[in-house]
């Protein structure tokens, strides 16, 4: 990676992070959504663990924490895409394209900003989870693995939404960025383990790439990871696909002027 690329990435990341931390209308939704998913699911649905066949050993708080961790990671990426679309509409992106010696640095900068956003959100959510007496059986390595899952999913989310934003270049593209991610996340075993899902949702969840990530995350937090290779292979595949997707989106934006 050239020095130019690094400089552009640093500049873009700093600007995005600054906008995020200094603007309540950006920081609050990012923080509130995962927190309220967590609170509502853990507080409202804790009796689900009494359903016959619910075999997760650490209780419902840890079960839902893993989902919220991955959900916040993916949505930090999506929210970063909103910022890219906004920059296109305001004309900032055209100026940035003209000024940046290496435009790939723009995408990397946005991805770093997405990570900063996610790390700040998940720090708060983790604090709340521990305050809610979440049980953990995994060791330090397992927990590190859990956060690494979220780390890479956040990058995947940013690359996806950056690709959309650079193709459509309008804030009206928000639902296009948001809906597929929402569908993928919620068509997985969110509320109960896969074996308790029934009907069409079970069939969809079985082939959903998010399902192994969730199951591996839940395995890591309970100290019994059994899908590590599969989960990280899926993440590597997603990263590869969306690097190409975002890079091609960048080329289209360049071509569009």
């Amino acid at each position: 990676m050239s020095r130019d690329t690094i400089n552009v990435a640093k500049g873009v990341a700093w600007r995005q992070a600054h906008i995020f931390f200094t603007n309540p209308s950006f920081i609050l939704p990012s923080l509130l959504f995962p927190l309220f998913f967590f609170t509502a699911f853990v507080g409202g649905l804790s009796r689900i663990r009494e359903i016959p066949g619910f075999d997760f050993p650490l209780g419902y708080t840890a079960f839902q924490f893993v989902f919220v961790l991955l959900q916040s990671a993916a949505f930090s990426g999506v929210f970063t895409g909103f910022g890219i679309a906004r920059d296109f509409e305001s004309g900032f992106m055209r100026r940035l394209m003209l000024a940046a010696p290496d435009r790939i640095g723009n995408v990397i900068g946005y991805a770093i900003a997405g990570l900063i956003r996610w790390l700040s959100v998940i720090t708060v959510v983790t604090g709340v989870a521990f305050a809610a007496q979440m049980k953990i059986a995994g060791d330090g390595v397992d927990l590190f693995g859990l956060y690494v899952l979220g780390f890479f999913l956040s990058i995947v989310g940013t690359l996806w939404s950056a690709g959309v934003a650079m193709r459509l270049r309008t804030q009206q593209a928000f639902p296009v960025m948001q809906m597929p991610v929402f569908i993928l996340l919620f068509f997985a075993p969110v509320y109960v383990p896969l074996n308790l899902l029934q009907g069409w949702l079970h069939a969809v969840a079985k082939i959903n790439p998010i399902t192994p990530l969730l199951e591996e995350g839940r395995g890591l937090i309970s100290g019994e990871p059994d899908k590590t290779l599969r989960a990280f292979a899926i993440l590597a595949g997603l990263l590869l696909i969306f690097v190409v997707w975002a890079t091609r989106g960048l080329r289209r934006a360049e071509a569009a002027g």
Partner: protein, 258 residues
């Protein structure tokens, strides 16, 4: 009086046409609640095995959520447009015409009501197509639409107040997470008597959205439970009174400033 009705109808029509011209504002409120319903009814079907769960169809149980969520989405979209009218100066120009303030509010809310009712009919049609049976029958279906109108008006009155008070589209959009919080901290996914976590049960009991959801749910899964339905109408009515009082006060302030 005739002139006031005509003015309100014209403004209401404008609100509807403006929404229809933005496909995202039409499609999203129709599809998103249905998607959430599909996810929840699939993912939480196992919940019906809990002792004391009131029905064996989670789809019927959860059908109340799209009704309330749809009203929320319609409210946010419509009031973002209302705030835009303030930002662009349309309201100021309107204030120079003989249109009275209250007519302006009624027109705005009439448009929103139309959209909310179209959504409600869509949700009901989808649910019936997927095998939900209204225990309260056709009369219950009609009352469901009336209740939906009351719920939409209740949220809309607060949305109008926010739009008039701030005159900012961003501020009105910021209401969505707030409304969403109320939805998630309610009895949307489980009956209140089955909520195990004490603090959550208290919050759900104090949350007015729980009563709106339970009233809609009451018409779907029970054979006429007047107490639940009446409570829902009372809460929606109370919210309307408070919301309209605030909105009217804010409108007077804004028209004075102009």
């Amino acid at each position: 009086m005739h002139a006031a009705v005509l003015q309100a109808a014209t403004l209401g029509r404008r609100a509807v046409v403006r929404t229809v011209r933005q496909p995202a504002n039409v499609v999203f409120p129709l599809i998103f609640p249905m998607l959430l319903l599909a996810v929840n009814s699939g993912g939480l079907k196992a919940e019906t095995r809990l002792p004391g769960f009131p029905t064996d169809s989670f789809l019927a149980f959860a059908l109340a959520v799209p009704f309330v969520q749809g009203a929320l989405l319609a409210t946010v979209n419509a009031n973002v447009e209302f705030a835009r009218d303030i930002q662009t100066g349309f309201l100021n120009r309107l204030a120079l015409t003989p249109v009275r303030g209250i007519v302006l509010l009624l027109g705005q809310l009439g448009g929103l009501l139309t959209i909310a009712l179209v959504q409600a009919v869509f949700y009901l049609a989808v649910a019936l197509a997927f095998g939900v049976r209204l225990e309260s029958g056709i009369g219950g279906g009609v009352l469901l639409l009336v209740l939906e109108a009351a719920i939409a008006l209740a949220f809309a009155s607060f949305g109008c107040w926010a739009a008039l008070r701030t005159g900012s589209t961003e501020a009105v959009q910021g209401l969505f997470p707030v409304f969403f919080v109320f939805l998630f901290l309610s009895s949307m996914n489980i009956p209140r008597n089955l909520i195990e976590t004490t603090w959550f049960r208290w919050v759900a009991t104090a949350n007015p959205v729980s009563y709106l959801i339970e009233a809609v749910r009451g018409l779907v899964i029970y054979h006429w439970r007047w107490e639940t339905v009446g409570l829902g109408f009372a809460v929606a009515g109370g919210m309307c009174v408070i919301g309209f009082a605030l909105a009217t006060h804010a409108l007077m302030g804004r028209l004075e400033r102009t």
